[in-house]
């Protein structure tokens, strides 16, 4: 269902009204000064007109002229208001501050639930800041988090800016492409029209020259036009194919996003010569010392206590030998091996049969049917 909203005639009236257009400081109204602009200072968000700002704050910091507000404001902090609702304006400023610090990403968390809980906590904190609930404590929290996580914050910040940059680039690219395609389409249309025009002219010329049968000429020209247009269409398809392909190519080029991310998060992990193969013992825990009768004498023996010899090595070795066969089922493994050594062959053979069958064999067989 379309929900075409009525264009409210009142809206234009509202734009001018609402008492918004009178400066609360000097009481100038837009009626007297049509170019009036309002500014706010994020210190207290009291609104006033540009000329008031110039007048009051040109000579350095001064107190806010709004009754009851004693804050000291500086001229360079004044800026234009983005949102109509001053409350939202302030909220967004606070959010900017919070978002600068709490910029964890979903990938940083193990589960979605953790991430959501994190978001929830951040939102709670933001709310406290906005509505000045436990203001000091919240500020402290924010600050301490910032100090604790400086590294990850800056990392994520870099990531985010990278992302937004690449998005920007992609956007521009897309716009460019769209423009090109649009132009191509227009040109093509134009050409088509010109050709048709020319064709017509030609027919008229031929007819005027008077040689040949009129209806035949008309027919001929018609078929020429048809041929041309179909050729053009094919060309167009080809061209679009091309643009599409290039589109796809650019897309892969620009999604560096995925790449960078993978490289960056784990720089501290050292080179692993075993390629991920772990030597952790999962069947037992190695203890520092074992109290065994027949070992006692050896432990006393200074020959075994000289540098370079460690009983721990011995325990480790012995236990490893004892446990290393556990959890291995030879039959199963062998069976698996046999299967896998046979399967690939048959599969490829079958696949070959399929492809061949599809190409020439099938035809021969089909012809044999009758």
């Amino acid at each position: 269902m379309s929900r075409v909203a009525q264009r409210g005639g009142a809206s234009s009236a509202n734009r001018a009204g609402d008492g918004e257009d009178i400066c609360p400081v000097c009481k100038t109204s837009r009626y007297l000064n049509p170019n009036m602009r309002f500014l706010v200072n994020p210190e207290c968000y009291h609104k006033m007109c540009e000329s008031c700002v110039d007048r009051i704050f040109s000579h350095g910091p001064a107190q806010c002229p709004v009754a009851g507000c004693r804050r000291t404001l500086r001229k360079n902090k004044f800026r234009k208001q983005t949102f109509e609702d001053i409350q939202v304006e302030r909220e967004v400023d606070i959010r900017r501050r919070v978002a600068d610090v709490f910029n964890r990403r979903e990938e940083d968390f193990d589960t979605l639930l953790d991430y959501n809980n994190y978001l929830n906590d951040v939102e709670d904190l933001t709310f406290n800041l906005i509505y000045k609930i436990d203001l000091e404590e919240s500020e402290k929290k924010l600050e301490s988090y910032r100090l604790d996580n400086e590294q990850s914050i800056s990392q994520n910040k870099a990531l985010a800016s990278q992302e937004s940059q690449s998005a920007e680039m992609r956007k521009m690219m897309e716009q460019e492409q769209a423009k090109l395609r649009r132009e191509a389409a227009r040109r093509e249309e134009e050409q088509l029209r010109r050709e048709r025009e020319e064709g017509r002219q030609e027919v008229i010329n031929k007819l005027a020259a008077g040689d040949g049968d009129a209806s035949k000429i008309a027919r001929e020209s018609h078929s020429i036009v048809l041929k041309k247009s179909s050729a053009r269409r094919a060309a167009l398809e080809r061209q679009q194919q091309l643009t599409n392909e290039s589109n796809g190519a650019t897309k892969t080029n620009f999604s560096i996003k995925g790449l960078k991310q993978k490289v960056e998060p784990e720089p501290e992990k050292p080179y692993d010569p075993f390629g991920g193969l772990s030597d952790a013992r999962d069947s037992y825990v190695l203890q520092d010392d074992y109290d065994v009768d027949w070992l006692r004498s050896f432990k006393q023996d200074p020959r075994h206590n000289v540098g370079g010899y460690d009983f721990k090595e011995f325990y480790d070795r012995a236990l490893c030998d004892a446990f290393s066969g556990l959890g291995v089922f030879i039959e199963d493994e062998m069976a698996g091996k046999e299967l896998s050594s046979i399967a690939p062959g048959s599969v490829t053979a079958a696949a070959q049969a399929v492809t061949e069958g599809n190409t020439n064999e099938a035809k021969i067989i089909a012809e044999d049917v009758f």
Partner: protein, 790 residues
């Protein structure tokens, strides 16, 4: 009559059948057998609905699956007509079979049409009826009542709970009127009766929106099983319905209201925190789990639903930063404020959703993900807060839907901000359009969900355009001829005036006095010779107004006035319906009337001018769309890039389907007759885009006529039409009785056999041969593979 299509016995409630009806049914059956979608074009007035219903009902009753039929139509009156046909058909079946089948057929329309509550039903706007009904029927209201609070309930709704839930209404076919009467007599609500009985129905007839508008579809149609047969009747405009269902316009006014709604919500949350904090806590706990869980409770009294949220999203947990009610409201407020700042821009902006989101994030720190959950989250909140005056939150809901759509779809949507109403306006009155460009998005779930979707209409040419635009594949695509015993309608293309000057509504010459005069002459001539009613279609209101005022100056209207009453369609629907009534009155009583209307207006869609209500239809100019519209331009570009449909092809297709729709208005049956005049030079080239049945009746001699030639042809035609034509002459040609049908079937079979034999002799040339070959090589392949395995 009774006959078989293959092995399927069909009962047809009339003694005679048209050949095209039979062909139509055969193709339908083929589609249903194979499973898949089809596009069928059946000439208007040849009993499309009845053929469709009798075949599908036969199919349902014969095969054990009893696949349900969902029949979608456009307007109330079409729904009512279809229900009446169905009722008639079932009566006939009962008579023939000798017993009553266990069968239920129901029609559903909005609450506004089905409400019985004495005060609610008097509300004028459908939205208000919906909202008021919800406040009388919502689950929590009932709970309150049980707790002894003083709240109003709708007694009609309450009574339903006393009945067996699967037998709220006895079997049979119930037209909307019947349901209303039954509801009145049993004091039960017809709307909810139908809604709750939907899963127990064999046939449901309702409006497109219940399937296409994702906001409604999710709620109304989600229990329907996969093997349902879905029919879209009168579907020539289906792409526009799809697009409209996902497009949203936002104005400053609606933003203001949305902002107010958000403030109200805030207040309500505070209230609830003070009185019943556990409810909010409950909701919170559920949202931690995910939307689906929180949504378990969603049923018929839901406030609204999500716009086409992907399923995986519903299973996901709500983002943490909008989990708490107050956080979410602040979130909404921020979003509304952001939109307000966007509205302040004084030049036209068009941008894609991703770039919109990017800017949004920079300014307000709203991320994409919570935005996607916006609509659902709002629903949940409204339900938790147990709000009754839901209509106040409609604008806010719109904004939430807007947010969800923006964040869900990167492609196929475009945001267009138009700060001024028109080029010349100086006072800004901005509108932010979120326009859906891709008709396939809304209809995709339907094609994916249901195995057989049938798209049919009287004018749905060119057939291949629809699968392209809606992005689906068909198993059958067919357009039928109209078999006629005599030529009962006369299409003509008039390209020149009597002075041989070309006539056209093209921009360069549309206001040329000579062109306007020629059009005037055309009208005057036809007013002279046509008995009863004439309908004239213009491409747009603007053009109609200018041409009428010029005619006024030229005295054309005075000349017409001598023969006919002149009535005009206006954008105001009340005025138009008054004009229509007068028109009908004049056609029935006096010398008839001329109705001047617009090819894209209300009259051209859904109002029939059968028999003497329309003997001549004149299409003045090709009804092209207004191409300067930014939304249309965006859509054209999208079609070009996505579906390779060229702009001109689409524009011309769109114009011709409207022209065909206009022409079809006057011919509503085989005993009807009429003249169809296409008055524009450009029609000459677009002839092939007319529906097959019109194009076939358009003789070469009747194209490229001048006004005086057209007049004399029409005169001759009307003279032959005025001689009586007994029905018996139509027998065997345009209508068949049982024997003739049997003969036809035999003939077809003979032909088939002959073809088969031919095929065998000549090797495999026919399609049959090819199929056999394919089957065989599959087998061969299997064998080959087995050989290798062994």
């Amino acid at each position: 009559m009774k006959f078989n299509i293959d092995d399927l016995p069909v009962l047809f409630p009339y003694p005679r059948i048209y050949p095209e009806q039979y062909a139509y049914m055969c193709d339908l059956k083929r589609t249903l057998d194979n499973g898949g979608h089809c596009v069928l074009e059946m000439p208007s007035g040849t009993g499309k609905t009845v053929s469709l219903l009798s075949l599908i009902v036969a199919f349902q009753q014969y095969y054990p699956e009893h696949r349900k039929l969902i029949y979608c139509s456009r307007t109330m009156s079409e729904i009512e007509k279809a229900l009446a046909e169905l009722k008639n058909l079932m009566k006939f079946r009962t008579e023939q079979l000798g017993y009553e089948e266990d069968f239920r057929g129901l029609g559903l329309t909005s609450r506004k049409n089905l409400c019985l509550h004495p005060s609610v039903k008097r509300e004028k706007s459908g939205a208000v009826v919906d909202a008021r009904c919800r406040s009388l029927t919502a689950g929590f209201v009932k709970e309150k009542k049980e707790r002894g609070e003083d709240v109003d309930l709708c007694i009609y709704h309450e009574n339903l709970d006393l009945l067996e839930p699967h037998n709220l209404i006895p079997p049979g076919v119930w037209t909307l009127d019947d349901t209303l009467q039954y509801g009145e007599s049993q004091k039960q609500c017809p709307y909810f009766t139908v809604r709750r009985m939907m899963s127990f129905c064999n046939v449901i007839i309702y409006s497109y929106h219940y399937l296409l508008d994702p906001k409604i579809a999710e709620r109304v149609s989600r229990e329907l099983s996969k093997d349902c047969i879905v029919v879209f009747d009168e579907a020539h405009n289906i792409d526009n319905v799809c697009i409209e269902s996902l497009s949203i316009d936002i104005t400053e006014d609606s933003l203001r209201k949305a902002g107010r709604g958000a403030v109200n919500l805030e207040r309500k949350i505070e209230e609830m925190k003070a009185t019943d904090a556990s409810k909010l806590q409950n909701e919170y706990a559920k949202l931690v789990e995910g939307l689906r869980e929180a949504d378990e409770a969603r049923n018929e009294d839901a406030f609204m639903s999500n716009p086409a949220l992907p399923d995986d999203l519903l299973k996901e947990a709500v983002p943490g930063n909008i989990r708490r009610a107050e956080h979410f409201v602040a979130f909404l407020k921020r979003f509304v404020e952001y939109l307000k700042t966007r509205m302040k821009v004084l030049h036209v902006i068009s941008e894609t959703p991703p770039s919109f989101l990017q800017h949004l994030k920079e300014l307000t720190f709203i991320e994409k993900k919570p935005l996607r959950f916006c609509a659902e989250r709002l629903t949940s909140l409204v339900r938790t807060l147990e709000l009754t005056s839901i209509e106040d939150y409609q604008p806010l809901q719109e904004v939430a839907t807007f947010a969800t759509l923006c964040a869900t779809y990167d492609k196929g949507f475009l945001l267009i901000l138009e700060p001024f109403e028109s080029e010349s306006a100086t006072v800004p009155n901005p509108i932010l359009h979120l326009t859906c460009l891709d008709a396939a998005i809304a209809i995709k779930p339907v094609f994916e969900r249901f195995s057989s979707v049938i798209i049919t209409s009287g004018t749905i040419s060119p057939l291949e355009m629809y699968p392209k635009m809606l992005d689906f594949t068909t198993v059958v695509q067919e357009s039928y001829n109209m078999t006629l015993a005599r030529r009962s309608f006369l299409p003509m293309i008039v390209t020149r005036g009597s002075d041989q000057g070309a006539i056209s509504s093209g921009f360069q010459i549309r206001n040329d006095p000579s062109v306007v005069r020629n059009y005037g002459n055309l009208l005057v001539e036809f007013a002279k010779l046509t008995p009863d009613g004439i309908v004239v279609f213009f491409p747009s209101y603007l053009y109609m107004e200018s041409i009428i005022s010029m005619w006024q100056g030229m005295g054309t209207l005075d000349a017409v006035w001598k023969y006919k009453l002149i009535l005009i369609e206006t954008p105001d629907s009340q005025e138009t319906s008054l004009a229509l009534e007068t028109y009908r009155h004049a056609c029935s009583n006096g010398r008839g009337a001329v109705l001047l209307c617009v090819a894209r207006g209300k009259v051209s869609e859904g109002i029939d001018f059968d028999h003497h209500y329309g003997r001549t239809v004149i299409c003045i100019g090709v009804p092209f769309q207004y191409t300067e519209s930014r939304i249309l331009k965006a859509r054209l570009e999208f079609l070009r890039e996505q579906y390779r449909i060229r702009e001109n092809d689409f524009l011309s297709f769109d114009a011709m389907r409207h022209a065909a729709q206009c022409l079809g208005r006057v011919l509503r049956g085989k005993d009807d007759y009429g003249v169809m005049v296409l008055a524009d030079r450009r029609f000459q080239k677009k002839r092939s885009q007319l529906p097959k049945w019109i194009n076939q009746a358009l003789l070469d001699a009747d194209t490229n006529l001048s006004v005086d030639q057209a007049t004399s042809t029409a005169k001759k035609f009307l003279k032959t039409m005025s001689t009586p034509f007994p029905a018996r002459l139509q027998d065997g040609i345009s209508t068949w009785n049982e024997q003739q049908l049997a003969a036809h079937k035999e003939k077809v079979e003979d032909e088939n056999i002959a073809m088969l034999q031919d095929g065998i002799q000549n090797g495999h040339t026919g399609s049959k041969g090819g199929a056999a070959g394919n089957e065989f090589d599959d087998e061969e392949l299997d064998e080959a593979m087995m050989g290798i395995d062994a």
